[in-house]
Amino acid sequence: MSRLPLEGIRVADFSWIINGPAIAQWLATMGAEVIKIESQVYVDIGRINPSGMADHIAGPNRNGYYHALNYGKKAITLNLACERGRALADDIIRKSDLVIECFPMPAAKKLGITYDRVCAVKPDIVMVSVSLLGKTGLEPASWVGWGPMACCFVGMFDAQGYPGGPPRQTGGTWPDYAIANAVTFHVLAALRHRARTGEGQWIDASMGETVIGQMPEWYMDYAMNHRNRGARGNRDDKMAPHNTYPCAGDDKWIAIAVGSDRAWDALCGTMGNPAWTREAKFADQYSRWHNSDELDAHLARWTRSYEHIALAKKLQSVGVAAGPVLDSVEIHDDPHLWEWGFFRKINHREVGERILPNMPVRMSNVPQLNYSMPPDLGQHNREVFGGLLGLSDTEIASLMEQKVIY
């Protein structure tokens, strides 16, 4: 295997569920040694969520939710609720470059995973705390919650609905993955700063603030015009048509976005230039945008008789931006994603053949990322407690007996 970018970096990862694990997954697949610290006292919800449990047969190593977010890592079980467990965690922190945690504030304090304390254990540590709305500030800093609640707080769901309708929710456990990308970039900058200066630091990452930073149209409009931009459905600032349109079949849709006269002419040509397309109210980009509700109604009557994937291909062949709304079956069958390398088949000891999504980038000099199998619960206990911390087999057995390594 060629050299991976983060070889030599060790991560003590106390996080669970989605956002922290998604950060650690970037680092692990890029070559860092990620030690994921779990416990049977608080099992990662990714291991037990029924919606991901392979063939509905319960077992901590059978969950697709966990597998999708934790390949490339090592997993140990350590009971942080007891003092000896916390002392062993400190020993791992002393040998690490980076700590990741996403506990709610009260739990972080109880378990001793706060920056003040971690920094006392390892002064040059880089530590990432991922939370709903940040770990400093007022009362919301101590709220319990997860991704979608951050979107609620900062106005994303208010802006997600149909025009004039109630707030709706964005899919895809937003914004856990958004913050994972953002944190990963800044963590690497922090590690580089540390390598040069010896100075560690704390990254206090608020999911709410990441979302704010990804909605500049709304926040800058407020800053400039004191206006709440609100929900706009699929309406764009310039393009029209710009919407999803019904296709043949049950709940099948196509997205079409037209931003130029050339693309509009190509779309009209594909439709066979029906008379309505020549009406003055659709004559230019601005008129189409201004009359987009009426335009959408015309277009929907046309798209309805076509299969969504075939129609997207047909429109793309004449240079119109269009794409099928893919459901989970269709996205797994998509030829582009397979050829590009987005999916991979695994053959897992307990659950057999499954499909997992890879990381969403390719690097010419790092052709093979670390896609080692998602770890079983406690799979690397012996390697980490014995190899890294130097405990003897007898000590490890005794700690297991005492439910410290547990």
């Binding site: 050299r3 106005g155 856990d176 930073g213 590009w340």
Partner: protein, 402 residues
């Protein structure tokens, strides 16, 4: 004075609109010198996009442009012309990272593809952000944020919890979230390449597509397909434990009633309405099976209370509950104010405005924004540095090259 983590890096940004500029902004705010190449004339297309103060378009006043291009330098240059290409090569010779978001094959078509640039600067990291990637059947498809988002499975599932699939067509997320995810994945990968280069001495080419980046946000929903062998459904029946904005007396709240402690806390918060005490609802399975009865009941109860009470008291009782604010409410919220989530930046033409401060907060090397550049503001500085005399610069300007 906080230090800048990336102040030794030079980044060239040959990109417009959202994805490339957002990636460049992340480097610029961390201290890298980011030189943005804009088309002579109108500049980055984003300069023509709203919001504008008073809705009056002006190339130096686009709120989206001003935000996406903080801390950068701007030069105007057309690398598709021979003399523009010469300047471009000189810039790239001393750069660490080149960010671009043109169609696959465009750089090659003007003689500035990865192999040509690698010959000039073997340490160069070329970060190409595109809709679908550099290879594969959709390589040459036209992508927009709507199209990328719609195809991502997250697009299928937005909005969530659909009651009437005929009327509720799939929506994209507010703004340009597919492009944003492509930008942040590209920025992270570019930094991985910087680490790789420090160990190996060579640069590389990064293929960072927005569709794949936004599809990643449905990783666990995808897993359900091959692990549980169930297609993921966007219909409401799939959830049935809350998890959506619900109206209260003076706004909306977001909560759930999945786990036992949540259910107990929710009932207590609503003063234990007798109808909710039915043993039918005691277990999760019962609550899910009777969602059609239970959900309207909870909705009616929530409408009797004010948001402040529901959130403050709910959180105190251990319920996962939060407010659903508008952007206007959030922008003025004391918690975000206390965290300095916004920063005032002066601009000679757009004036003083409050911008979102940064994607994350850092203690030693915080991301820090200075104002976006005006179109071509740094032409003289950069061209001078590359060794072009004032006469040569004047000639280029007269020829419309800069």
């Amino acid at each position: 004075m906080a230090s800048k983590a990336l102040e030794d890096l030079i980044v060239i940004e040959f990109a417009e609109m959202v994805s490339g500029p957002m990636c460049g902004k992340m480097f610029a705010d961390m201290g890298a010198e980011v030189i943005k190449i804009e088309p002579p004339g109108a500049g980055d297309e984003m300069r023509a996009h709203p919001p504008f103060p008073g809705d009056i378009p002006h190339p130096e006043k686009s709120g989206a442009f001003l935000y996406l291009n903080t801390s950068k330098k701007s030069i105007t240059l057309d690398p598709a012309t021979p003399s523009g290409a010469e300047v471009f090569r000189k810039l790239v010779a001393h750069a660490d990272v080149l960010i671009e978001n043109h169609s696959p094959g465009y750089l090659d078509s003007i003689g500035l593809g990865f192999n040509a640039l690698k010959a000039i600067n073997p340490r160069l990291i070329l970060t190409s952000i595109t809709p679908f990637g550099q290879t594969g059947p959709y390589r040459d498809w036209k992508g927009t944020d709507l199209v990328e988002f719609a195809m991502s499975l997250t697009g299928y599932n937005t909005p969530t919890m659909v009651d009437d699939p005929e009327r509720e067509n799939p929506l994209r997320a507010p703004g340009h979230q597919a492009e944003m995810m492509g930008a942040t994945a590209a920025a992270a990968s570019s930094m991985f390449a910087v680490f790789h280069r420090e160990a190996t001495g060579v640069g590389q080419w990064i293929d960072a597509p927005c569709w794949q980046a936004i599809a990643t946000t449905s990783k666990i929903e995808m897993a359900a397909y091959t692990y549980v062998r169930l297609p993921f459904s966007r219909l409401r029946g799939n959830v049935a434990v809350g998890l959506e904005p619900m109206a209260c007396k003076d706004g909306y709240v977001y909560t759930l009633w999945a786990a036992e402690p949540h259910w107990v806390a929710l009932k207590k918060l609503l003063h234990n309405p007798p109808a909710m005490e039915s043993e039918v609802f005691d277990k999760l399975a019962g609550r899910q099976a009777n969602d059609d009865v239970l959900r309207p009941m909870i909705r009616d109860e929530l409408k009797k209370y004010e948001l402040d009470y529901l959130v403050t008291e709910g959180q105190r009782l251990g319920l996962t509950i939060g407010p659903v604010f508008t952007v206007a409410q959030a922008a003025e919220h004391p918690h975000l104010r206390a965290r300095n989530a916004f920063v005032a930046i002066d601009h000679p033409i757009a004036g003083r405005l409050e911008y979102p401060r940064s994607l994350v907060q850092m203690t030693a090397t915080p991301p820090t924004s200075t104002r976006a550049p005006m179109l071509g503001e740094h032409n003289a500085e950069i061209l001078g540095r590359l060794g072009y005399s004032l006469e040569e610069q004047e000639g280029m300007r007269a020829a419309g090259l800069i």
